[in-house]
Structure formats: C-alpha cells, structure tokens
C-alpha cells in the first residue's frame, strides 16, 4: 500500500514538474524548429520572464500567473529585436559561430540583469504557495499536489495548447510551420520568411519567459537562475525531438518523470547524472528524439 502511494505520488510529482519543463522548453524547440539555430542563451529569457513577473507582482500586485502575460508580450518584442540584429546575420554562418554568438548573448543577458536588478534573490508571496490539493487519502497515506505546482502545470498546459493551436489552426502559424519545413517553398507561397523567423524567435523566447513567470511561486528569481535551467531545457528538447512542440511536451514530462523516479532508486544528488546518461543515449540511438517526425 505504501509502495503504491509512493509510486503514484512520484508519478504525479514527475508529471507536474514535467509540465513546467515542457513550457520552458517549447520555446527553445520552436526556435530550433523554425530557424535551425541552437540558442544557448535561451534559458536567460526564462530569467527575464521571472524578473518581469516579479516586478509585476511587486509593483502592480499582479499574481505571477497574470504577470506571465506581461512577460510574454515584453520578451516577444525584445526577442524580435534580438533576432533581427543578432541572430539573422548568422543564420547562414558556420555552427561554431552560431554556438558562440548565443553563448556571448548568454553572458550579456545574465550580467545585464545583474546590473539592472542586482544580485538579490527575488521571491513572490502568494496565498496558494503553501496550499495543496489532496487527491486521495487513506489512513496516513496521501496523494497530494501543491497548488503552486498545480497552477504552474495548468498554465503550462494552457500555453502549450495555445502554441499548438497557433501553429496548427491559424494562417500565420501554418505559414510558420511551412517556413520551418521548406523555407524556399514557403517563399514561393508568398510567405515573408524573415518575418516568420523574427516572430518565431520572439514567440519562442516569449513562451519561455511566460514559463519563467509561472514558476515564480516556487522558484526564486536571480540573474544566474537561467544557467541552472539551460542544460535541463536542452535535455527536454532533445529527448522530445528538436523542433517539435508535442515533442517538447513529451520530453518535458519524460524529464520530470526521470528526475522523480530516479530519486527512488538513486541518491537525489545523482538525479541529473541519470538524466544526462539518458540524454546522451537518446542522442546516440535516436537523434531525432523520442517523438520521431513523420518525415521519412
């Protein structure tokens, strides 16, 4: 009985966490999928989103779940500018140049945040942070989920769905997918591919910033926070298959589950060791990710 509860609780924790990873990584996947650029600075936009969420909470009294929308809009436009002036010039450059330009961007953004926001850890206080929903209880055993995680998970789900709908059900989104699959043909259809790239980058970093604000109730904002999520985001995206939205969601849940279940058999200290081993093996055996694209 206790074992069953442990397993179920672990499953639940893994899924909740994975949903959040998914929303953080969807944007990275989008950027890669459309532009075939690996953006090493991507996690910094999560940090920016967290700070925007925190500022909205601190000065406007907005809950981070609402501040997330402000973060989305602000970083969307910021991302478009970054794409226009930094990313577009290197779209055709060798991969080394792409890698190190985005690494430079990582340094610049992290330290710009340090200069603007200072080094303090910024945390929000909300009533639901300490509340939880008990899904099932039997004797001393309980199956529960924290409200902060639940809200973040639902927001993540909603934003994932919104991105999916945008890409699949709108004219503009369809054009963006077309650009990612065959930019030449898309041009011939009348698609302004440069605009698509800019919007894809803006949206990609915007969604990640949205995710940053959404996790604010249980992760503290600081300029260096991005770095600790960077490798994790890449793991999610690679597991799911670079460039696919559904892949990022499945990859996110997979990483969440690997982390939570590995804690049952390994010391928690080694949870990322397990994760990275899975990551490297996935790359080796299925470079297209766990969720293969339909293309033959």
């Amino acid at each position: 009985m206790q074992l069953l509860f442990t397993l179920l609780q672990t499953l639940l924790d893994g899924i909740m966490l994975g949903g959040v990873y998914a929303v953080l990584a969807v944007g990275l996947s989008l950027v890669f999928g459309v532009m075939h650029i690996v953006n090493f600075a991507h996690a910094e936009f999560m940090m920016i989103g967290m700070f925007i969420g925190w500022l909205c909470w601190h000065y406007l009294g907005l809950d981070p779940m609402l501040g997330a929308f402000v973060a989305l809009v602000v970083t969307f436009f910021f991302g478009m500018l970054v794409q226009r002036f930094l990313i577009r010039p290197i779209l055709g450059a060798p991969q080394v140049a792409q890698i190190f330009l985005t690494v430079g961007l990582l340094f610049a953004l992290e330290n710009a945040a340090l200069m603007i926001m200072g080094a303090e850890f910024r945390s929000v206080t909300t009533p639901y942070q300490t509340q939880s929903v008990i899904l099932f209880a039997s004797g001393p055993e309980r199956l529960l989920v924290g409200m902060d995680k639940l809200y973040a998970f639902l927001m993540a789900l909603a934003s994932g769905a919104a991105v999916w709908l945008f890409l699949n059900k709108t004219r503009f989104g369809t054009a963006m997918r077309a650009t990612s699959q065959d930019p030449m043909a898309a041009k011939l259809m009348g698609v302004n591919t440069n605009l698509m790239y800019a919007v894809a980058f803006g949206l990609g970093v915007g969604v990640t910033a949205f995710g940053g604000s959404v996790v604010l109730p249980y992760i503290t904002a600081s300029p260096a926070i991005g770095t600790s999520f960077a490798v994790l985001m890449f793991t999610v995206v690679v597991l799911g298959g670079l460039g696919s939205v559904t892949g990022a969601i499945i990859g996110g849940i997979a990483v969440g589950l690997i982390q939570s279940f590995s804690a049952l058999v390994l010391p928690i200290q080694l949870q990322n060791l397990a994760l990275f081993a899975v990551f490297i093996l996935t790359l080796a055996l299925r470079p297209e990710g766990l969720v293969a694209r339909r293309r033959s």
Partner: protein, 329 residues
C-alpha cells in the same frame, strides 16, 4: 607550414624568443607572470581542443571532463601515494583517453549541435561524479594539492611561478608542435577531409570513425596533462571550476574559435586576446558595477562573431594573402 611568409616566420621566432626571455624580467611571484602562465595554459588548451574541434569540426563542449580528470588523477595520486605528478599526468592522460573512448561510442557519429550538446552533458556528468564521490575527490569542497617541498622538482612544486611558467611554455610549444604535426601529416589530411565532407572522405578511403576516434583520444590525453599542470600551479580546485562549462569547456573552444578555428596560430591569437581582455575587463570594471565586466565580455564576443564569424586570424590571413600577392606570387 608550406605557405608561410618569411615575415611570419620571423614573427614566430621573435614571439617564441620573447616568451622565453621576458619572464626573467618579471616579478617571479607577480601578476604579470601569472597572466602569462594562464595565457600559455589556455593557449595550449585551445590548441588541444583544436585537434578535434578545429581539424575534425567536432565542436566539443565537454573538454573540461578531460581537464578535470587530469587534475584530479595527479592530485589524488600525489596526495594519497606520493606519486609524482609527472607520472600522475600519465595516469590522468590514460584515464582521459579511456573516457574519450567510452564517450565516443554514443557520440562520435553525432554532428554539429547534437555533438556539442552530448559532450556538454558528458562534461556535466564528470562534474557530478567528482562532486558526489566525496571519499575519493573530497567532494564539492574541492581539493588542495599537498605542499611537499621535500619532494623537490619531482613534485612539480616551486616557490615562484617561474618554473611553472616554463612548464606551461614547454607544454604550449609541445601541444602546438603536435597540432602542427597532426595537421601536416596524413592524419591531418584525413581530419580535414572529414571536416569538409565526411561522405566524400569515406569514398576516397578515409576511415572516418577511426580517425575521429584517434583525434578525440589525442586531444583528451593532452587536455588531461594540462589539467595536471594547472593543478600544480593553482594548488586548489573544486569540481565546479575544474569541470566548469563556462570556465573551461567553453573557454577552450572559444580561444580556438575566436582566433580562427583549425588554424595553428588561432589558439595563440585567441589566448592572447581573451585572457588579457578578461583581466582588463575585470580590473577596470570589476568593481564599478557588479556584472559590468562579464557583460562587456559577452558583448565583445557577440561583436567579434558578428564582424567576422571565421575568427580573428582570418584577418591576418587576408593581410598575408595581400602581401604575398604583392610579392609577385
């Protein structure tokens, strides 16, 4: 090299002579000497990375794993068994080679971004192991190289940094020489063929898998030896630093790339620019506003790549080509 211009050759000899003599006139404990040491160390690291990253275009972001293995191997063996770091370096090189071999099984067929990400993760795995395996590595607190002056030069420990400097200098020249030998040998031809067109290379008879493997192992072993030298110079390190993504892996690659990836003088130029640049940024801006120095560093990186994605040395090459053309070539 076959195309080297007499002026370039003169410059090369002058540089080496200057590097050999100048430290004698510097404070043997001093800051300038330390900066020169770090320049040579990172120049050599960039050069070691260049063998696999530059010649074969396998962009590794996990070389810190080899560096750390080298540093930990010699330090632990010296601390626990009194084994001279000279032999410790050999053990480290062997262990790093084994790690490179194991890592190559899943990664060597990967290309570009995928290879970079896989090696990044591998470097992180090494860090996690060093961090958790406290009984052997001392764990997150880090490890100090025991000071044993009685062991003499066999311990590679010196009162001043001058002998360290000459060790780094020798290492730098040796790694450069190895790189040059590799680049101009049949092996180098094969590596370049892989870099430029892997399928064509196979079809004209290059065993691409084997060649990449050899390059990885060589690069790993050299990096590990440099790890030992670093440990004997710095005397203290911890897992986060020695296996650092930004502090070691990315920096190694950056030095090779910024200078001009795959070129013999690329890492020289890279180290010559990056190490002093970091220092100047730190000493001028380090206290004016927290983060300003690192911010400047990042912005400079972006600017350099936007201006010239092929690296600084290509500027010199353009210049050289112009010169040689004028000389009636």
């Amino acid at each position: 090299m076959t195309r080297s211009h007499p002026l370039a050759r003169l410059l090369l000899v002058a540089t080496i002579a200057a590097l050999a003599v100048v430290p004698l006139f510097l404070d043997p404990f001093g800051y300038a000497l330390r900066i020169l040491c770090l320049m040579l160390l990172f120049g050599a690291l960039g050069q070691a990375w260049n063998i696999v990253g530059g010649l074969a275009n396998q962009i590794s972001l996990g070389h810190a794993a080899y560096f750390g293995i080298g540093a930990y191997s010699s330090t632990i063996l010296f601390g626990s068994f009194g084994l001279t770091p000279i032999l410790g370096a050999v053990v480290g090189a062997v262990l790093a080679s084994i790690f490179a071999l194991l890592l190559s099984i899943p990664t060597l067929r990967l290309k570009g971004h995928y290879f970079a990400l896989a090696t990044l993760a591998a470097g992180e795995m090494a860090r996690i192991v060093a961090n958790s395996w406290t009984s052997v590595t001392g764990g997150p607190v880090g490890i100090s190289v025991p000071f044993r002056p009685e062991a003499g030069p066999w311990a590679l420990q010196f009162e001043t940094a001058l002998p360290n400097y000459y060790l780094f200098f020798a290492a730098f020249l040796i790694v450069t020489l190895i790189f040059w030998r590799v680049k101009t040998s049949a092996f180098g031809y094969r590596l370049r063929a892989i870099k430029e067109n892997e399928i064509a290379a196979e079809v004209v008879g290059v065993d691409t898998y084997r060649v990449k493997l050899q390059a990885s192992v060589l690069s790993a072993a050299l990096t590990a030896v440099l790890g030992t030298l670093y440990a004997q110079f710095q005397f203290f390190f911890d897992p986060d630093t020695i296996f650092g993504v930004a502090t070691i892996s990315v920096k190694m690659a950056l030095i090779a790339i910024l200078g001009g990836v795959g070129t013999i003088f690329g890492p020289w130029v890279g180290a010559l620019v990056i190490i002093p640049l970091e220092e100047l940024a730190n000493s001028w801006l380090g206290n004016s506003l927290a983060g300003l120095s690192q911010f400047t560093y990042g912005v400079l990186l972006i600017v350099v790549i936007l201006l010239n994605p092929r690296g600084l040395i290509s500027l010199a090459e353009t210049l050289r080509d112009r010169l040689s053309r004028r000389n009636g070539q």
